[in-house]
Amino acid sequence: MSNITTILLIPGLPLLAFLLLGIFGNSNSLLKQGAGIIATAFMAISCLLSVQAAINYFVMANLAENGFAAIILFKYTWLSFGSGISIDMGALLDPISAMMLVVVTFISLMVHIFSLGYMKGEERFATYYAFLGLFTFSMLGLILSSNIFQIYIFWELVGVSSFLLIGYYFAKPSAVAAAKKAFIVTRFADLGFLIGILTLGFYGESFDFQTLIQRFTDHQSPQFLAISAASFMGITGLSWGLMLVFMGGAGKSAMFPLHIWLPDAMEGPTPVSALIHAATMVVAGVYLVARLFPIFAISDQAALDVVAFIGILSALFAAIIACTQTDIKRVLAFSTMSQIGFMMFALGVSNYGGENGAGFSASLFHLFTHAFFKSLLFLGAGAIIHMVHSNNMEDMGGLRKHMPITHISFLIACLAISGIPPFAGFFSKEAILHAAHTSSPIIYYLALFTSMLTAFYMFRLYFNIFWRSEAKPNHNTHGEGTWSMKLPLIILGVLSIVVGFIPFSHYVSSDGKSLETHLDLMFSILPVSLAAAGILLAAYLYKNKNEKPEQIAQNLGGIFSLIKQKFYIDEIYLFITHKIIFNLIGRPAAWIDKHIVDGFYTLTAITTEEFSSTIKGWQSGNLQSYALYFLASILGLAILIIYALI
């Protein structure tokens, strides 16, 4: 098969599954029964094809001295705006997109398999798989985009499939509210993205990634000079463009302060959370910054500093909140946010080219490893929820005996995310910390603290679920679930151990040239021991049921409840939207329209009516008064003629 066919089939197969199941899934009983199998088979082929494409790209392609080059497989003008500006539909294959292809199709496949058991017996089973197909298609389209407007198109499609999947249980008001919230918050962020695109596209005179990068990194090009000369509020056009684009990325990646939708998004089915809100869609922001990274790094360090700042802030902020949550999916959601913060600030502290670009590789390495262990955590949580029928860790405890496979795989994932060698997370997190260390000490120490917190809250979760005493003794009625649920856990568990050994920066680096990094054992001692300390603290507090956590919470008092209420950010948003926007803008607008603008027309109508009813009194029907008018007019005319005209 030619490369183009392969690359078209990778997103094409999930799209086909979506169309097939979405249109006929509910009417055709055969399709309804076999929806899961069909979608999974399509996904499996797509996954194999993308692995093949990635291998082709990384191994078969000869590594020239310029490193891995970006290949445009095809490009088709979709909507032309004249004078070179157009939205193209194309496929761009470079190291990061090849890597992401594998991640997305693989995690999606795992989720498809897991859902066979988890979603069994749902009434809208086919619809569920249709939406999964739509999401996978859009995500793959986003990854392959060669044009910044193309990425925006798929960006929106990803957003809507997330909306549909979160709102899958549409009869539940909380799910509908969460779906709305996710869509609207990311839509708000996308507003920034869109304006950023318009700015970059206008000055860059192109929407094409490669053209934009080439023009904006060449400090002599007319486009660069134009965008640097343009300034608004003391900030150059380029910084505005990049920061606005980053705003879109921050919204999708749940960075502070646009993160509020992510915890609520856990209302969706758990496998969906594993796919969308852990491994794939939420890292789209990181991917976007990585895509434009040369412009950030070479031409606009200030915007990159913003990325670093938002990244570390979100990482720390989310980690603190995660320590207090009791809904296991929300803990995982905040942990996702925190880990994406790691990826963001790793990009932020990085530079372009060679050793200086280590942060770039580290960030994407973490994206890669995180996808495996975080989806494992979510799928594990799904298995647990499937058994316990509750999201709350208070209802769990002592589950290690009933769910051995889930237990072991969950433990592996926890160790991986905590950065304990030799699990995958260790390698990527060390790389990030190393990059931060060489660039900015403040970020480095904050990151160290955050990674200790990570170990603490993950093991708080772990011990609360699997150790402690059993909260409800009778929940082992239907075992650990089917093999379709266990198999993905095992595969992901194995991968969470081994993927760390991939020499990632050899393949993915800021300038495409291969970068050899070495593990500095002396450097690793501090982070690893801090992580171990976090684990031990969690074990001390939560392994057995005791009063200590309660006491600590009481001693912290107000601070604890502040954190537990997520710093009241949601309430602030609610206040702004409901009280300010609805009451101060929406209602007055509706009122003005009804009473003032429309009132004007009503007034016109009333005036006309009043006027006519006044003059209609003259039309009395009384013969004698008519005669009087007649006579008076004649006399008036006579006087007029006599005195005015003669």
Binding site: K616, Q619, S620, G621, N622, L623, Q624, A627, L628, L631
Partner: protein, 104 residues
């Protein structure tokens, strides 16, 4: 004693005309209104005859017109009285104020 001139006759006809007008405006009874109209017509007749006699004695146009008017007035009175009788049948009154169904 001064001879009776055109002015005197015109004064008479003007007086007659305005008496008719006054009756037309103020009376409510349709018969009286009709009589007032007749007065006005006759004042005009006087004018015609007077002008004819004093200004163009060689012509008969004025007399011709006054005969014409008398004829029309007779026809008009017939029609008017027919209307009034009909009105009386339907309203039991010939008060002009009460016939206001077509108002507005």
């Amino acid at each position: 004693m001064m001879p009776i001139g055109l002015t005197h006759i015109l004064l008479l006809s003007t007086g007659l005309f305005f008496i008719g007008t006054y009756g037309f405006f103020t009376r409510r009874n349709l018969i009286t209104i009709l009589m007032s109209v007749e007065l006005m017509l006759n004042s005009v007749n006087i004018n015609f005859v007077a002008f004819n006699k004093y200004l163009y004695p060689q012509n008969v146009d004025g007399i011709f017109f006054s005969i014409f008017i008398i004829t029309i007035a007779a026809a008009e009175a017939a029609v008017a009285i027919a209307i009034i009788i009909n009105l009386y049948r339907s309203h039991n009154s010939i008060d002009v104020e009460e016939a206001n169904e077509m108002k507005y």
